[in-house]
């Protein structure tokens, strides 16, 4: 035998191996860096910091939380300057909630023990030192301490009233829904030119009844509001002037400088819980993102329901029934190429096809009396889900075809040799064997769909939609409704918000939650697939 002439390092491709390892490390680093950024910002921003009081060289005084510190170059001297981003809140007074302070300008820095952060329903948080509580125009608690049981009792009772108020508002919402239904019936009667006076009379009677109920509820609401408005908390803001905040507007009062570690952890958990479960406030910069989570998950589920049957049936026909020819090859190439079409194109197509063609047709057929108001002829959850299903169906088709290809011909022919028809073979032998592959396709489809934003913006996502697509009102599932989505929420809050700084925690935490949802949905599908695979190998499928 001839002596080997290729050097060992070339035969074993040692440098290439090093390159492979380096690429892997790069990919890992990028993932870790991205996750690290999201986690550190997202998880850190809900941690209650101490409230600091700055006195500056020019005599001005500021109270708030230090948001970040950074070093910049002074444009005139070129020397580095350290500065502080201070979240001073009270946007109702100053129009902004943040300001930069040069560290050199700080004369005095202290942490006043009675300083509080007040979460409000409007205008974002306020920072100050509580002075007294007013009931109308007489002082009720003076001075007030937010750890004092008297204050806590008052605040709790106000909260109670606010919950009652919310309840009443919920009822008003329900009555409005009734009135809307009556209005639709009226439109329907008019559209059909019904002249039967009894029908109209019944309609009028129902309308009058609900309007009566509405009147009563509105009165109750007004009374509650008035009662709630009479209690006012007066706080001294940084420069000592008084700020009066109605108790009804206050969500919580946080004595940030007097909290134990346990209280801080509890507050942190509460904030996170509120983020997940509550409706947004303040142009989405505060409150929670529950409707967005709900919208994202329901959209992905509806998409899955649509994409799996269509994808599987297409692949089955292409692989099992159609004669393999140049036509099936062309179709296969076309399907693969569909996966590369920019998603915004799908959005445009979804809008043109689903909304304007099918939606309008549905409206003309089933809801002619609603014209010109569209029901299905406008963006909505159903259309957005179907658009995403269209976007992801190539993935499912390709994965299913791969799974079908992997089934040995002996198994197929074995069933046919026993007299099974093509369909019986597909139904009882081939489909069970292909199910894990189908689920792999679904996993990929979910991963792709959860992160898509562009097509949704054209087909039904909105900035704010507190009415969930599933609720307790007939017919319970409202697929025509517009919905919120985490991905769009990130874009909206992060880049379209009037108060970008305040929205920062929102952006990172929304990103975090979106990642969590993608992971959870994927893990569910992977678990399902492994289960199916196990069942299949145990022969139980």
């Amino acid at each position: 035998m001839r002596k080997r002439t290729i050097p060992r390092w070339r035969a074993e491709a040692t440098p290439l191996l090093g390159l492979c390892g380096a690429s892997l490390v790069m990919a890992l680093l990028m993932t870790v860096a991205m996750l690290g950024l999201v986690f550190s910002y997202g998880l850190g921003l809900f941690w209650q910091k101490r409230i600091v009081h700055f006195q500056l060289r020019d005599g001005s005084r500021w109270l708030g939380e230090v948001w970040s510190r950074e070093t910049v170059q002074d444009p005139t001297t070129g020397r580095p300057v350290r500065r502080i981003a201070l979240h001073h809140g009270n946007r109702d007074l100053w129009g902004t909630a943040f300001r930069w302070i040069d560290e050199a300008d700080v004369v005095r820095q202290e942490y006043p023990p009675d300083a509080v952060r007040i979460e409000r329903l409007a205008w974002g948080p306020a920072f100050g030192q509580p002075r007294r509580v007013w009931a109308g125009d007489r002082p009720l608690i003076d001075p007030v301490d937010v750890r004092d049981p008297v204050w806590q009792e008052l605040f709790a009772s106000v909260h109670q009233d606010r919950r009652v108020l919310q309840d009443v508002e919920g009822q008003i919402d329900a009555v409005n829904d009734r009135l809307e239904r009556v209005r639709r019936r009226e439109l329907r009667l008019r559209h059909r030119s019904v002249s039967d006076p009894s029908a109209w009379a019944a309609l009028q009677a129902e309308k009058a009844r609900w309007e009566g109920v509405y009147g009563i509820l509105a009165l109750r609401r007004a009374a509650l509001m008035e009662r709630l408005q009479q209690y006012v908390l007066e706080v001294a803001i940084a420069d000592g002037t008084a700020l009066r905040i109605p108790l009804a507007q206050i969500v919580t009062v946080i004595p940030a400088n007097r909290m134990s570690l346990g209280e801080r952890i509890r507050l942190y958990a509460q904030r996170y819980w509120a983020l997940i479960t509550e409706n947004p406030r303040e142009a989405n910069t505060e409150g929670g993102i529950f409707p967005a989570i709900f919208g994202t998950v329901s959209m992905v589920l509806i998409m899955s329901l649509a994409v799996v049957p269509v994808g599987v049936m297409t692949a089955l026909y292409l692989r099992e029934y159609a004669r393999q020819s140049w036509l099936t090859r062309v179709i296969r190439i076309a399907v693969n190429n569909l996966a590369a079409v920019p998603s915004i194109v799908y959005g445009v197509f979804g809008m043109g096809f689903f909304i304007y063609t099918i939606g309008t047709a549905i409206d003309q057929t089933f809801y002619p009396w609603m014209a010109p108001t569209p029901v299905f002829g406008t963006g909505g959850l159903l259309w957005a889900s179907l658009t995403l299903a269209l976007l992801t169906v190539p993935v499912v088709i390709v994965a299913t075809e791969e799974a079908l290809l992997a089934i040995q011909p002996e198994i197929r022919h074995g069933a046919r040799a026993l007299g099974a028809t093509q369909w019986q073979t597909v139904r009882h032998v081939i489909l069970p064997a292909a199910t894990p592959g189908v689920l792999t396709g679904l996993i990929l489809a979910i991963a792709r769909a959860t992160g898509e934003v562009a097509p949704l913006m054209l087909t039904g996502v909105v900035k704010l939609a507190p009415d969930l697509p599933i609720d307790d009102r007939f017919p319970f599932i409202h697929l025509e409704r517009k919905f919120m989505h985490l991905g769009f929420h990130i874009y909206d809050v992060g880049f379209q918000s009037p108060n970008v700084d305040a929205a920062q925690p929102m952006v990172y935490n929304t990103t975090l939650l979106l990642l969590v949802i993608v992971v959870v949905l994927n893990l569910t599908a992977i678990h399902l697939r492994n289960r199916v695979r196990r069942l299949y190998h145990q022969g139980a499928l």
């Binding site: 022919h413 074995g414 040799a417 026993l418 007299g419 022969g539």
Partner: protein, 321 residues
């Protein structure tokens, strides 16, 4: 291709328990006979392709011998030709297959044995571009007639494949597959069919306690018997077996061979095999195929002891193949 030796030409011997022996004797396996085959033509051991053995050219003999008529035939094959596209795989095959007997089909690789088997239950229909000429009569009825229900035909004439191919289902579901697609739903009936089929396939005692375990957990030989049970469960008239033992060890092979002999009481079996000893041991009639032609068809005893055609003799004595 294995080579038969002089002793093997005295086949078939009566079925003795020798092939059930855990370590089969050389003559029953056929893989150890090479030396004797060489010595029979006085060629020194270890030499490659001795000149004394004239390599037969790739030429189909003009001589043919087909035993006819056969008493009580199940299949009457008349001038059957099979084409894959333009390429002929079988050319003008005519012979009859007797009822409740084992008919072996032998021949070198690529001679069309398996294709022929698949013509008998129209499994070739599944291959794009295949078509046949001639007629195949099953009990006097042309199976390629347009009025034939192909799925019904495949239940009457079922095929056991070369490689065990149990479905990835439980043992029970494998056997019940055929009855179920025929529409049998009653549990009791299915239970009875499953037990009967597994008993017929001599597998019942081995699996009766784990009917709902996966069929894939069985050994190769058990899987093949399961496939036979699965075929029997549709109550066929004819069992086609396409080299059912080629993927099995000698012990499993012995079991399947015993099984075939016991099944011929109730079923007609057509067996394709590479193994001439096997054909000699179990079959009643043997057909020798070569390059798509039927060269010789006789009673097995006669074919192996007094082949009428030179090419058959060359093949069974191992001079080519």
């Amino acid at each position: 291709m294995q080579r038969g030796d002089a002793q093997d030409r005295a086949l078939p011997r009566p079925l003795t328990p020798d092939h059930q022996h855990p370590i089969p004797k050389p003559s029953s396996v056929g893989v150890m006979t090479v030396h004797s085959a060489r010595s029979s033509v006085t060629v020194p051991l270890g030499e490659v392709v001795p000149a004394a053995v004239e390599p037969t050219p790739m030429r189909v003999s003009e001589e043919r011998y087909v035993l006819t008529p056969i008493p009580d035939p199940v299949f009457d094959i008349q001038h059957l030709s099979l084409y894959y596209g333009e390429k002929p795989a079988l050319i003008d095959i005519s012979f009859q297959i007797p009822r409740h007997q084992i008919t072996a089909v032998i021949g070198p690789s690529g001679c069309g044995k398996s294709s022929f088997l698949r013509c008998l239950n129209r499994l070739n229909d599944l291959i794009d571009g295949s078509h046949i000429e001639g007629r195949v009569l099953l009990d006097g009825q042309d199976i390629y007639a347009p009025s034939m229900d192909v799925n019904e035909l495949r239940r009457r004439v079922t095929l056991v494949f070369q490689k065990p191919n149990p479905f990835p289902k439980s043992i029970y579901d494998n056997v019940a597959f055929g009855p179920r697609i025929m529409g049998i739903r009653q549990r009791a009936v299915l239970d009875e069919i499953v037990e009967r089929s597994l008993r017929q396939a001599a597998l019942w005692d081995e699996v009766k306690d784990r009917l709902h375990a996966s069929a894939l957990q069985l050994s190769g030989g058990q899987q093949q018997r399961l496939c036979i049970a699965r075929a029997l469960a549709v109550d066929p008239e004819v069992l086609l077996m396409d080299e059912p033992c080629s993927a099995l060890d000698p012990i499993a092979t012995g079991k399947i061979e015993d099984l075939m002999v016991s099944l011929k009481e109730n079923y007609t079996i057509v067996l394709v095999t590479h193994n001439m000893q096997q054909a000699g041991r179990v079959s009643d009639y043997t057909a020798f195929f070569y390059m798509g032609y039927l060269i010789e068809y006789q009673r097995t005893t006669d074919l192996f002891t007094h082949p009428r055609v030179r090419q058959t003799e060359d093949y069974i004595t191992g001079r080519f193949g």
